[in-house]
């Protein structure tokens, strides 16, 4: 019998712990299976590839608590535990399992880095001891457990001081204190945030360079450095919020080696087995450095380092955990060198964070020690300017602009997400680099680079000769940028390039700078040099467009779709080409598609690749709205887009056309209309009754969607609306139950695995609502829903996957909207119903003869999906549920009944009648309660400013809040159904049924 390994995943996506653990976890699980191990996975994040039943032998979407895991251990009897792949969550659980004696009780080995070593890396005191023992300098600091101790330490070393709570994610509860008042607030938050009520206070080393090393170590102590990285933002901004280059750019060889040696010494003395991240601060004016932090596990940085170098850290880490040595594992990219050969780059990499502030206008945009980015993009190029430009192009967002110099300066003095763009703007307006350096401490090397980017803009404004444009391309000036600085439309630049034969070259990532022959499929574009690859030789070649960075409303679930689509296409005999730019994901693992282009998802990049590869078909429905939005343009350039033509998508997405369509087939929709101007909106509002639901066009995740209760609110909303968001949809706001349908259609028939019902009423964004699948819906209603769904899909001869949202109000069923693409809930439905939805969708898109099973799947349990909010880092925002999506991730639990599944969602919370739980509607004296140590749950659903303030205060204190009646009711109702049932997902139906 093969050995069984229990793997703990990282759970729902939150800021600080995101899709990178899907990538690492998937790689790790596959590596274990490759070695013949049986893998039992516990991870309650349904949106990932990692929880796909094909990745592990048993997948438990169950709570990540030691009680829950102990039950699973009893059921599965694993031989060992691998905790290094599931981020801080898994590491903390491993420490707890050990502490509670559970690992000993069930005689389980720990694979990889030992618990002892984990604690040495994580526990501040033990860590300092290791640093002292190995002569590694650390910043003067002290472990603090009381406010008084904090005050006296700060008095001793002087402000500013940095606070870092122990055992927390993404710097949760931490920050910089510039004075006594700051300190008091930080201590309160920090001590609360730390599960062991411990905060480390340290001397501020703001202005130092921040450098990271990704190190691998095997059981025999062989250590290598896979990659080093330099943060462009000096120490003070969390590395997850920093713009980062790989390799370091401003370090001499002596500095590079000094820190490398230090990193290796530390990792060796911690006896890490697997991957480890070491962060340093380096004085820009001397050789003085400090070790900031060690993460004895794979991390966001290791995912980035893997993608930056091509060296698969998580995969190798899993194998090292099994006992392999670095000099016996082959480097899969070269197939010649061993895993002990340190990667070397012959290109530059820029990582750029993706922040949620485009959605959260009220959030505090200042960056510090607490991470705020939801995701990131990466760019590969051979000049730094071009790498920056590509990274910006990959962000897929409206870039910040500044009305006045002072506005720009605001983002510079206290760094915000807009700092980079503010710097560019100041340089554009002639501010000196010295002045910017003084304010930011950003190394002049980088400022020079930014300045050259501006020089190109200026030069191109007056000179668009072929020679100049060609040169500008070397430095990354995209067609969009050319259009912006010259005023000549982007399409004309595309034809200008075609006329003058200005096309990018494609080079490969091979870990060895070309020293050895490598058969890699990992490609980037550049104008610096020649193309070194041939288009893939293939009978049928498909291009799959990815979803870009993780952001609110477009998360890891879209990566799931893209990856499953690639698998399906490969099975159907297609050669697959993937374009994406998110370093955290499985889709950008070079082993996923037959060829990976790590590129921005701008039309320019997509079309250049499509032309080079001469692809037969392009898939735009598996990369969220980002991919769907380019459908029409791709079609206009003569490529075949899989599924339905852009005209059909337009009919389904354009509100006016869609309402016409629904009327023509007798499917009811909410009363409402399209408004092309503020004037039209006012007129429309007059013809309906408040409340109204107002949504702008071309947005993701309900951005800017508001419920309007009065004329005053309407005016305020119109004020906020940018011109490009017209037309607005103005709908009657009707309350009722929201039902979602995921369907696959071959044009003539549709397959609906079941209905998903929201717990909260319509009006709460579907991404933020809890939902039940399969839902128990009155037969009459469900029949009507399915009939409407079928009518819509077959009417437009829809091929592929589609999501439809319905509103049920009494006996009436209305269509709310259609998403003619793979949606957020596809992985949940697919996994719960054990139906390969994406696979069937792909088949329906490429194969005329594809049919679906007539019977509904038998689903042996009920799943509840619940949203997860990153309030730990965005506590200043009122998390009252509404039309604008705020959650960063989602989780899922299974139960024999809906109540049992719901009970798991709330099982970590106290009973509603417990003093730890405060109900604004019946309990009194909120302020006193808030300061009580046990305060855990707060319920207040009022719309008032006072309610908002209280919710925010509660959130800041780390309390779970309920802002919606239905959610709160579900919590209360679930209490009597608490259970210890731990259920593994059933394996999926293997193939589509072909007749």
């Amino acid at each position: 019998m093969s050995e069984k390994v229990l793997v703990i995943g990282s759970g729902p996506i939150i800021i600080g712990q995101a899709a990178e653990f899907d990538y690492s976890g998937t790689q790790g699980c596959l590596a274990l299976k490759e070695e013949g191990y049986e893998v039992v996975l516990v991870n309650n994040n349904p949106a990932t590839i990692m929880t796909d039943p094909e990745i592990a032998d048993s997948v438990y979407c169950e709570p990540l608590t030691i009680e829950s895991i102990e039950t699973i251990i009893q059921q599965e009897k694993p031989d060992s535990l691998l905790a290094g792949l599931g981020g801080q969550t898994a590491l903390n659980l491993a420490v707890e399992l050990q502490g509670a004696g559970i690992l000993d009780k069930y005689d389980m080995k720990v694979l990889g880095t030992s618990i002892d070593s984990i604690q040495k890396g994580e526990d501040r005191e033990q860590f300092r001891q290791v640093m002292n023992d190995t002569d590694q300098p650390v910043v003067e600091s002290q472990v603090i457990t009381t406010l008084d101790a904090a005050r006296s330490f700060a008095a001793h070393i002087g402000f500013p001081v940095i606070s870092r709570p122990a055992y927390t994610l993404g710097g949760r509860g931490g920050g910089v204190a510039y004075n006594e008042d700051d300190l008091e607030i930080l201590m309160k938050d920090g001590l609360k945030a730390s599960p062991i009520s411990q905060v480390i206070l340290e001397k501020s080393i703001a202005g130092f360079k921040e450098i990271e090393y990704e190190v691998m170590r095997d059981k025999d102590g062989i250590c290598i450095s896979v990659c080093n990285m330099e943060n462009i933002d000096p120490v003070g901004v969390h590395t997850g919020d920093s713009i980062v280059t790989a390799p370091s750019q401003t370090l001499t060889d002596k500095e590079y080696q000094m820190l490398r040696t230090s990193a290796l010494t530390i990792v060796d003395s911690l006896e890490v087995i697997g991957g480890c991240n070491v962060q340093f601060a380096l004085d820009p004016n001397s050789r003085q450095y400090y070790v900031i932090e060690v993460n004895p596990r794979v991390s966001r940085s290791s995912a980035l380092a893997s993608k930056a170098t091509g060296y698969p850290i998580a995969k190798m880490a899993a194998k090292l955990a099994l006992g392999y040595r670095l000099d016996e594992l082959m480097n899969p990219l070269t197939g010649y060198t061993y895993a002990s050969f340190e990667p070397t780059l012959d290109y530059v990499v820029v990582k750029f964070p993706r922040w949620p502030f485009d959605k959260f206008k009220d959030a505090n945009r200042t960056l510090g020690t607490k991470m705020k980015a939801t995701g990131e993009v990466m760019a590969i190029e051979r000049t730094l300017e071009a790498a920056f430009q590509k990274a910006i192009d990959s962000l897929d967002q409206t870039l910040p602009t500044f009305a006045a110099i002072n506005d720009a300066w605001e983002h510079i003095e206290a760094p915000t997400d807009a700092r980079f763009f503010a710097i560019l703007d100041l340089l554009r307006q002639g501010t000196s680099m010295e002045k910017i350096f003084d304010a930011t401490g950003i190394d002049p090397f980088f400022l020079h680079t930014f300045s050259r980017m501006i020089d190109w803009e200026k030069r191109l404004a007056g000179d668009t000769s072929v020679v100049t444009v060609k040169q500008a391309k070397l430095y990354g000036v995209s067609d969009t940028k050319l259009a912006e600085v010259t005023g000549i439309p982007v399409e004309e630049w595309a034809s200008f390039r075609a006329t003058h034969d200005i096309t990018p070259s494609y080079k490969i990532v091979d870990t060895c700078a070309g020293e050895f022959e490598a058969e890699t499929n990992y490609v980037y574009s550049t104008y610096a040099g020649v193309t070194e690859i041939e288009p893939l030789k293939a009978e049928k070649k498909a291009l799959i467009i990815g979803a870009g960075p993780i952001r609110i409303g477009q998360g890891v679930e879209f990566d799931y779709s893209a990856v499953k689509a690639i698998e399906s296409l490969q099975k159907q005999g297609y050669t697959t080409v993937m374009i994406n730019n998110n370093p955290e994901t499985v889709s950008t693992d070079y082993e996923t598609a037959d060829r990976l282009y790590f590129e921005p998802l701008k039309l320019e990049n997509i079309l250049d690749i499509a032309a080079f590869e001469q692809v037969d078909i392009v898939f735009t429905s598996f990369g969220g709205q980002t991919a769907l939005n380019v459908t029409e343009s791709i079609e206009n350039h003569g490529y075949k887009v899989a599924g339905v033509p852009a005209s059909v998508i337009e009919k389904l997405e354009d509100r006016e056309a869609f309402y016409d369509l629904l009327q023509s087939i007798d499917v009811p929709h909410i009363p409402g209309e399209m408004c092309h101007s503020a004037q039209e909106a006012r007129q429309a509002a007059d013809s309906y009754q408040y409340p109204l639901l107002c949504r702008p066009s071309y947005v993701i995740g309900g951005q800017g969607m508001v419920v309007i209760h009065s004329k005053g609110e309407l005016e305020a909303a119109l004020e906020e609306t940018e011109a490009k968001h017209y037309p607005l949809v103005m709908d009657q706001f009707i309350t009722g139950e929201e039902i979602e349908v995921e369907l696959v259609s071959n044009g003539e028939e549709v397959f609906i695995p079941g209905l998903m019902a929201h717990i909260e009423e319509a009006g709460v964004h579907s991404g933020d609502s809890m939902a039940v699948f399969p839902a128990e819906v009155d037969e009459g209603i469900s029949g009507q829903i399915e009939k409407y769904a079928e009518k819509i899909a077959t009417h437009v001869n829809y091929k592929g996957i589609m999501n439809i949202q319905f509103l049920v109000s009494g006996e009436e069923v209305f269509v709310l909207e259609v998403n003619p693409r793979s949606s957020r809930t596809v992985p949940i439905v697919s996994k719960t119903a054990a139906v390969p939805l994406i696979d069937w969708a792909v088949q329906a898109m490429i194969d005329e003869t594809m049919t679906f099973p007539a019977a509904k799947p038998h689903i042996p349990y009920i799943a509840v999906k619940f949203p997860v909010f990153s309030s730990h880092t965005l506590a200043e925002l009122d998390h009252k549920l509404g039309a604008n999506m705020m959650s960063t991730g989602e989780g899922m639990y299974l139960g024999k009944t809906k109540e049992q599944a719901l009970a798991k969602v709330f099982e970590h919370l106290p009973y509603p009648d417990d003093p730890a739980s405060f109900d604004e509607e019946k309990d009194e004296d909120f302020d006193t309660w808030l300061t009580s140590k046990s305060a855990t749950v707060y319920h207040n659903e009022a719309e008032t400013e006072e309610a908002k303030r209280k919710r925010i205060e509660a959130l800041k204190a780390g309390i779970t809040i309920f802002s919606n009646k239905a959610t709160y009711q579900a919590y209360k109702d679930s209490m009597e159904h608490r259970n210890k049932e731990r259920i593994a997902l059933v394996q999926p139906v293997k193939d589509g049924v072909k007749v």
Binding site: D253, Q257, L326, S340, F341, T344, A513, G514, G529
Partner: protein
């Protein structure tokens, strides 16, 4: 201005020239894959006469420092880069790389697809190349005897430590001397043509330095060298390692394209440990040639299994094909220098007490 590098087989690559040259600049073309350390590479005597291609595209980011060189001046014949910076922002920088290259009159090309040249070299093997303003075929003649150009004429004494070491000069790097001085030695550098003089110095140990080109260039000195090695503890680095091997009857051969870079894993057969090394060599001691000698391979390259260091079966002599003194490259092999000091001290004790 246009610049071209042309390889022996006629392939050429166009870019920008750093100047206008009356006649082509010729040399053996090699590539360096390290991402930092350009100043050390340019001034390392082991690169004497070679044209170095830097695979990392951004060269010169942190400028050039007066104290950062491995010898007084650049040793390379020319350099090929994608980008050569004319700015510097590092606190230790005294000038930009572009300014330094101009001052030192080292021809270089930029805007060259360095990855393509690297691939050409890895496919065809190390070859001759010419840098010029128009394509120009390099003379087919192999350069030889570079070691005679870099070894100094005079004997020099450095430091005043308690352990007296002789560094035999085949073109030593500053870092080797620095590391020996840091270890507490007084170091006398002796040109390899003056080996006979060493006996009179009664050193505690001998270090054979790195150097450029073919170790068989010094075949004429192997006899007197062996006599010296038989008597003193010795440590050979790179060229020095090859010369020790030759002196005891082993053979060397030329690798198809050499080992160069800062990322080469080497395994110590004594304890199985693997560490990353900095390398720069075209020639290698062949494994089978060690068979009938008193030497055995102690260190081997993880990727290709080639000999990376030997140890004498009876005498206190060992060697490294790579650069334990680093600069550029990782410091993982510095223990070898410590081990040499320990060995020297041990021998000292047994001899004189």
């Amino acid at each position: 201005m246009k610049g071209v590098i042309q390889l022996e087989d006629g392939q050429f690559f166009e870019g920008h020239a750093s100047g206008e040259w009356a006649s082509p600049v010729e040399g053996e073309v090699v590539f360096y894959t390290g991402m930092t350390g350009y100043q050390e590479v340019l001034t390392d005597p082991s690169y004497r006469g070679q044209i170095v291609v830097f695979t990392y595209p951004l060269i010169g980011n942190y400028g050039v420092s007066d104290s950062g060189s491995e010898s007084e001046k650049p040793q390379v014949k020319g350099a090929i880069m994608w980008q050569c910076s004319d700015e510097d922002s590092h606190y230790q920088a005294d000038q930009s790389l572009a300014a330094y290259m101009e001052e030192m009159d080292i021809p270089y090309l930029t805007n060259i697809d360095t990855r393509e040249i690297t691939k050409a070299i890895r496919t065809k093997g190390t070859c001759r190349a010419s840098i010029a303003n128009t394509p120009s075929a390099p003379a087919p003649l192999e350069a030889a005897g570079q070691v005679f150009e870099v070894s100094k004429e005079t004997i020099e004494v450095h430091g005043d430590g308690g352990t007296h070491l002789v560094l035999i000069d085949f073109g030593w790097k500053q870092s080797i001397l620095d590391k020996l001085l840091a270890g507490g030695a007084k170091v006398t550098t002796v040109p390899f043509r003056s080996i006979a003089d060493i006996h009179g110095m009664k050193p505690d140990g001998i270090v054979l330095s790195n150097g450029p080109g073919d170790p068989k260039d010094v075949t004429g000195h192997l006899g007197e060298l062996k006599a010296l090695l038989d008597e003193y503890p010795a440590f050979g680095i790179c060229y020095g390692h090859q010369v020790i091997s030759l002196a005891y009857g082993a053979d060397t051969e030329k690798l198809p394209f050499g080992h160069r870079g800062a990322n080469h894993p080497v395994k110590d057969l004594k304890d199985g440990h693997v560490f990353i090394t900095s390398q720069n060599h075209n020639y290698v001691v062949t494994g089978e040639s060690l068979e009938d000698t008193p030497l055995e391979a102690r260190l081997v390259h993880v990727n290709d299994g080639s000999v990376e260091g030997v140890v004498h079966k009876e005498k206190p002599i060992f060697s490294a094909q790579f650069h334990p003194e680093a600069n550029p490259g990782p410091e993982d092999a510095e223990w070898m220098i410590d081990e040499f000091f320990t060995m020297v001290q041990k021998v000292g004790v047994t001899t004189y007490v």
